[in-house]
């Protein structure tokens, strides 16, 4: 029996690995040679020569692709009273929010399930099940919105859809197949949860979890390829003639940077949404045990969100650097052009994210009697977080009238101007991350007393680590940012990041050894949380949703008046780039719609557990 189960597990694992690598094989390569006889070249080449070549070489009979169409307003169908762009924008964004959630949840559900299996603590298993239960309803909504998005594109942007399908037809077909696979695996994973329990069955269940993640990620990567192709087209010539193969088009310049960024962001986002779920259930809980359970769930969700939030700025920085590397024009439009002010809004949103996540942690210290030791230090962490946020929030250039310019003595403020450039902001972000981690360290230690003999030395080492690390971050930021060549300004950000990561990883390692077998100060009081702390979880989810919407606008907006950057021009009446206020309004409406749907999903999960006995309603059955 054991051998048989092991074989099944091994087989399923192999299937996962195969699925990860089979993607390119799904797409038969349309070789450059096949596409060479484009319309442009065939016009120049003599027909007779082409014909004789065709006879001599079967490859010359291959498919020829048309260039990107040149569209006018008349080529875009309209429906009176419907703004095509806003409609497609909202549906795409809603699809992306739900999609990000349903791709992310199985990732941490899988990890939580593994933790439950390793520790044999059933609470983890129940929590993982609860999370996947929420994502099931969200999965249906994702599919419905995906369908709506396709309809929207076909209806309002038929030529764009046709052009993209011409290039990505194989991957679109693969996407449809993978979607079936995703549904099948998700349903087995969810409905088989209680069936596949214990012993080797648990391993089989976990394998399905892994498979679910593999398929989910492949779906996202494929959709990312279509999106990034529109930003950094590959395998096409200047006229948009497809002359490569599908894999080249998928593996375009910005594909992997977006993949990495979205995987990390999705986990943080998914964590924040399930955190809001836990908060909702906590606030609705009638019983003490229920409140304790959802407090614990909320803590774990917040932990997931913070864990992914810490590396997220680095993933974003990498993506932006790659945009610059792909096209300096695109990079400058993004950071120094019309979108530059968006990063001030982004600073506010990320500030809200970090402050709410930290606030929740500080409130969580109230669960423990031992936390009082750390309470006096919280105000210093709060002060650093706010200062770091303010530096990040400081704009570089200001939009000024002539008289304002004269009063200020130039385009930059004499004192605040120095905080406007990237070295200051990089330093601020690294401080934000390090002090958020410090909050977590305090929280983790709150109810424990280390019993190892070297506890004092360990503490001293950690203090030294934080001190030296922070000094290093400041030196890298100030010296290389202001007193050396411009080239080092950006380059110094890498050792800054590495310093932050070193602090976090080394401190975690020391802490894990130091608090092994540590003594509890008192029993933890799960559920002893003020209601306002739960609103911090809501703030996290709402801010994240709004932030994703805003950054989605920027990512799409930097193409400006192009459907596909520089090769396929947007000829619609909506080809203009909307201003920030307009975009903020669309994003706000989208966030309201999303939050309404999400709260509805939470509410559904509340009523699904209720069972009313309708006395006298049903006919009595004879035994």
């Amino acid at each position: 029996m054991l051998t048989r189960n092991m074989k099944i597990t091994f087989g399923a694992l192999m299937l996962v690995i195969l699925a990860m690598f089979m993607l390119p094989d799904f797409m038969p390569a349309v070789h450059a040679s096949e596409a060479a006889a484009t319309e442009a070249t065939s016009a120049a080449a003599p027909a007779s020569a082409a014909a004789s070549d065709a006879a001599a070489e079967p490859v010359a009979n291959a498919i020829t692709f048309p260039p990107a169409p040149k569209l006018t307003e008349a080529d875009y169908p309209t429906i009176p009273g419907v703004n095509a762009r806003v409609m497609v924008w909202l549906v795409a964004q809603l699809h992306l929010w739900f999609g990000a959630f349903v791709v992310a949840v199985p990732m941490f559900v899988f990890i939580i399930e593994v933790i439950g299996m390793v520790t044999r603590d059933e609470r983890y298993d129940n929590m993982a099940y609860e999370f996947i239960k929420v994502s099931i309803t969200a999965y249906s909504l994702t599919a419905i919105l995906g369908g709506l998005l396709s309809f929207g594109l076909i209806l309002f942007y038929p030529d764009l859809f046709k052009y993209l399908s011409m290039i990505f037809k194989e991957s679109m077909f693969a996407y449809a197949l993978l979607f079936f696979a995703e549904s099948a695996v998700l349903y087995i994973y969810y409905y088989g949860w209680h069936w596949l329990q214990g012993g080797n069955k648990k391993w089989i269940h976990l394998t399905f979890g892994l498979l679910l993640n593999a398929v989910g990620l492949q779906l996202m990567f494929l959709a990312n390829a279509w999106t990034t192709f529109m930003m950094s087209p590959a395998a096409v010539d200047a006229a948009g003639v497809f002359n490569g193969n599908t894999w080249e088009a998928i593996h375009n310049f910005l594909w992997n940077p977006i993949n990495i960024h979205r995987v990390v962001a999705n986990v943080a986002y998914g964590g924040s949404v399930v955190g809001a779920y836990a908060a909702f259930k906590f606030l609705s809980a009638q019983k003490k045990e229920e409140r304790a359970h959802y407090d614990w769930v909320g803590y774990n969700a917040n932990f997931i969100a913070i864990s992914a939030l810490l590396p997220l700025p680095f993933a974003g920085y990498y993506l932006t650097a790659e945009m610059y590397a792909y096209s300096q024009q695109m990079g400058i439009t993004l950071m120094g052009g019309v979108f530059a002010w968006i990063f001030i809004i982004q600073a506010v949103l990320i500030g809200a994210l970090f402050l709410s996540a930290n606030y929740y942690l500080w409130c969580g210290m109230g669960r423990s009697e031992g936390a009082y030791r750390y309470n006096p230090r919280i105000k210093y962490i709060a002060a650093v977080l706010v200062l770091a946020f303010l530096v990040w929030f400081t704009p570089h250039t200001l939009v000024l009238t002539n008289s304002e310019l004269k009063d200020l003595g130039g385009p930059y403020h004499q004192i605040l101007g120095v905080f406007g450039i990237m070295p200051a902001k990089n330093t601020a972000v690294n401080f934000l991350l390090t002090f958020t981690f410090l909050s977590f360290v305090f929280y983790r230690r709150a109810n424990k007393v280390a019993t190892v003999s070297w506890a004092a030395a360990g503490n001293a080492a950690q203090i030294a680590l934080f001190t030296v690390g922070l000094i290093n971050i400041v030196i890298l930021g100030v010296y290389y940012g202001y007193f050396t060549n411009t080239v080092y300004k950006v380059a110094a950000s890498i050792p800054q990041v590495l310093t932050t990561l070193t602090i976090i990883i080394t401190s975690l390692v020391i802490d894990s050894f130091m608090y092994k077998g540590a003594k509890d100060v008192a029993p933890l009081h799960w559920g002893r949380m003020p209601n306002r702390s739960q609103y911090a979880l809501f703030l996290l989810a709402v801010s994240f949703t709004w932030l994703m919407g805003l950054m989605g606008y920027v990512r799409s907006g930097i193409r400006q008046h192009w459907h596909v950057s520089n090769i396929f021009r947007d000829g619609s009446p909506d080809a203009f780039t909307p201003g920030l206020g307009y975009a903020a309004s669309v994003v706000s409406v989208g966030t309201i719609m999303f939050m309404a749907m999400v709260i509805f999903v939470f509410w559904l999960s509340t009523i699904s557990g209720k069972h009313v006995v309708a006395k006298g309603y049903w006919k009595e059955q004879q035994a």
Binding site: A45, G244, F280, L349, W546, D570, G581, A596
Partner: protein
């Protein structure tokens, strides 16, 4: 249900805060509308108008000021006329220009011919420029627009304006003798020599290294590919080489017979 409304209200409040800040807390910058193709009536233009047109393109469609500004992203062009003379003499110069006008044209369509120290792509040691070819891609200036920009650059940097206003649609003068019809070349070697393919490629007895080695190209590429590579060199860039190097004008320069002869010859190199 009470909690449903409370959380919904709180969410609305947060969203409203973000919306309000974005609309009223930061300056509202209206992005420029998409550029519109203008019909240029060059025949009726004076040189001053032509220079003004160049300035308009420089600040607008050409998107030059995105980088060539006081922020230090790209070199300032206020002395580009005088600098051009020095740069053509610099050992790092890889172009073929002989005059300031040619140099400026080259800088616009082959920006890597000379990269000002400190402004190259990172990691290229100032051998590759981050600037795109402004005659292609999203900017797409035509020859008349390029000439206008050059005139503007010469004028604004205090140099003599040597550009002539192009007469793009002008028909040949009546009575002018038609140019003598050139006789097609007879061998592929003659075609290769005439078009100096060996300057960049390893072919015949020449050892050019700027483009791919063509001595065994037929083993890897078929005729269709080779034909396209000659007619539209930017369509597919060989691995390890950068675009923008090979002239895209061979389609106009070669006769069909010469092109086919060259393609057949290259396809036979195995």
């Amino acid at each position: 249900m009470k909690n449903f409304f409370k959380t919904a209200f709180f969410s609305l409040l947060v969203i409203g805060g973000f919306w309000g800040f974005s609309n009223f807390g930061i300056p509202q910058i209206k992005p420029a509308p998409p550029p519109v193709e203008e019909k240029l009536d060059l025949g009726a233009m004076t040189m001053d108008q032509f220079i003004a047109l160049g300035g308009k393109i420089f600040n607008g469609k050409g998107t030059c000021t995105l980088c060539h500004n006081a922020m230090g992203r790209a070199p300032m062009l206020d002395k580009v006329g005088a600098n051009s003379e020095e740069r053509m003499k610099d050992v790092r110069y890889k172009g073929e220009a002989k005059t300031v006008q040619e140099y400026l044209h080259e800088s616009l369509v082959k920006p890597s011919a000379y990269v000002v120290a400190g402004f190259g792509k990172s990691g290229t040691n100032d051998t590759e420029s981050p600037m795109p070819d402004v005659s292609g891609g999203g900017i797409g200036l035509n020859e008349a627009e390029l000439a206008a920009v050059i005139a503007y650059l010469q004028d604004s940097s205090g140099s003599e304006v040597t550009v002539e206003i192009p007469q793009m649609d002008a028909a040949p003068a009546e009575g002018a003798a038609a140019p003598a019809e050139e006789v097609a070349l007879k061998t592929p070697e003659e075609v290769i020599t005439k078009h100096t393919c060996g300057m960049c490629h390893k072919i015949l007895d020449q050892e050019g290294a700027l483009g791919p080695d063509l001595t065994k190209i037929g083993a890897k590429r078929n005729k269709e590919y080779l034909r396209q590579a000659i007619l539209d060199p930017e369509a597919v860039i060989a691995k390890g080489f950068s675009g923008g190097m090979m002239p895209p004008t061979y389609g106009e320069q070669m006769k069909a017979k010469e092109l086919e002869m060259l393609v057949n010859y290259l396809a036979g190199l195995k």
